[in-house]
């Protein structure tokens, strides 16, 4: 799992992510803390990608994005939205081919009238384990407007179409810690309160109470947006560290910025000896 973030401001786009990859072995969860989740499309480009969810397919994101960049050389995308659409096409082809068997198994389980407890757990794990998300952000000349588009591949849904981010900050993967920090409540906690039998108001009443305590985020100068993204990722990592939550987010925080007057730039990027230096 991941904490991935994107901030769209008038000056540009900030992308960020942690570096932990969770793998399941016969002995349980195993965490690798130097995975790459944030990429530039090509070299010297104006578009970047951050990913969350499923850790990979039979080709790495790095290779697939390099191939996409090669495609752009002969056939430029034109817009950030078009770049996201072509990325969706490319990933969808591999996603449906690589995961054909588990996707079919999920369909079968969902379609069964009754399921055993083991089948029910298998179904839930398949539903969540194959979710894969990307945020494609930046600008595409001659239009220097900063844009970001979200793509979520869901094993129960059709090929995703890019959804434009309209908000100043959006985050994915493990959203709850920052939901609580900024909005005072996450969806699961809200559902528990509403279903507790102790809340006599409406859901809108509860939202109104939380809204009073929500943190207000102004339109930020780009360096402050970088700070916000870093602070949110760091807080998510620390929420897991200082609790009994699994450390599914961690490792070096990576941040990139694409300002409307420059190309993709790294703000924080782990060096190639990062994993060696850890030990």
């Amino acid at each position: 799992m991941t904490i991935a973030m994107c901030s769209v401001t008038p000056e540009g786009v900030v992308l960020g992510a942690d570096s932990t990859m969770s793998v399941v072995s016969s002995s349980g969860f195993h965490y690798l803390n130097f995975n790459q989740k944030l990429f530039e499309i090509g070299d010297g480009s104006t578009v970047g990608v951050v990913t969350w969810g499923l850790g990979g397919l039979s080709k790495s994101w790095r290779t697939l994005l390099a191939e996409l960049s090669d495609d752009f050389k002969g056939n430029p995308a034109g817009t950030v939205q078009a770049a996201a659409e072509r990325w969706a096409d490319k990933v969808w082809a591999l996603y449906t081919a690589d995961l054909a068997v588990p996707i079919q198994r999920l369909k079968t389980l969902v379609g069964q009238a009754t399921r055993s407890a083991a089948e029910d757990e298998e179904m839930k794990n398949l539903k969540h384990g194959m979710v894969l998300g990307f945020c494609v952000g930046g600008y595409m000349e001659p239009d220097r407007s900063p844009k970001a588009y979200e793509l979520v591949f869901d094993p129960q849904a059709a090929k995703p179409t890019p959804q434009e981010q309209k908000s100043i900050l959006k985050w994915w993967g493990a959203p709850n810690p920052i939901m609580r920090l900024i909005n005072a409540l996450d969806q699961e906690l809200k559902a528990d309160i509403l279903n507790s039998g102790k809340w006599s108001g409406t859901p809108a009443d509860l939202d109104a109470v939380c809204q009073k305590h929500a943190l207000k985020v102004p339109i930020l100068p780009i360096r402050d947006a970088v700070d916000l993204v870093h602070a949110c990722i760091s807080s998510t990592i620390k929420a897991m560290k200082f609790s009994d939550l699994p450390q599914i987010c961690g490792g070096p925080i990576e941040i990139a910025v694409i300002t409307t007057d420059r190309r993709f730039r790294w703000v924080k990027h782990k060096p190639w000896d990062a994993a060696i230096m850890e030990g």
């Binding site: 969540h128 981010q165 908000s167 100043i168 993967g173 909005n183 207000k216 339109i219 009994d244």
Partner: protein, 71 residues
């Protein structure tokens, strides 16, 4: 101030040592102890839905301040 022995934190009211998780939280811990993994439903409950992002709109309560000092 109480001295801490052998690195243990004092817990006079048993707030930490005697509170046992119940319900789905207890089940989550049991499952982890048994398998070394967390169930998808537990991760979603605690950390959020991987299919859904969360977002915050910029507030309009703020206005850009002037570079000129107010007299």
């Amino acid at each position: 101030m109480k001295k801490i022995k052998n690195g243990a934190q004092p817990d006079p009211n048993g707030l930490v040592t005697e509170q046992q998780p119940t319900g789905w939280l207890a089940e989550m811990h049991k499952h982890f102890q048994r398998t070394g993994t967390y169930r998808a439903e537990d991760l979603e409950r605690v950390l959020g839905d991987p299919r859904e992002g969360a977002e915050v709109e910029a507030t309009t309560d703020f206005q850009f301040g002037s570079f000129l000092a107010k007299s």
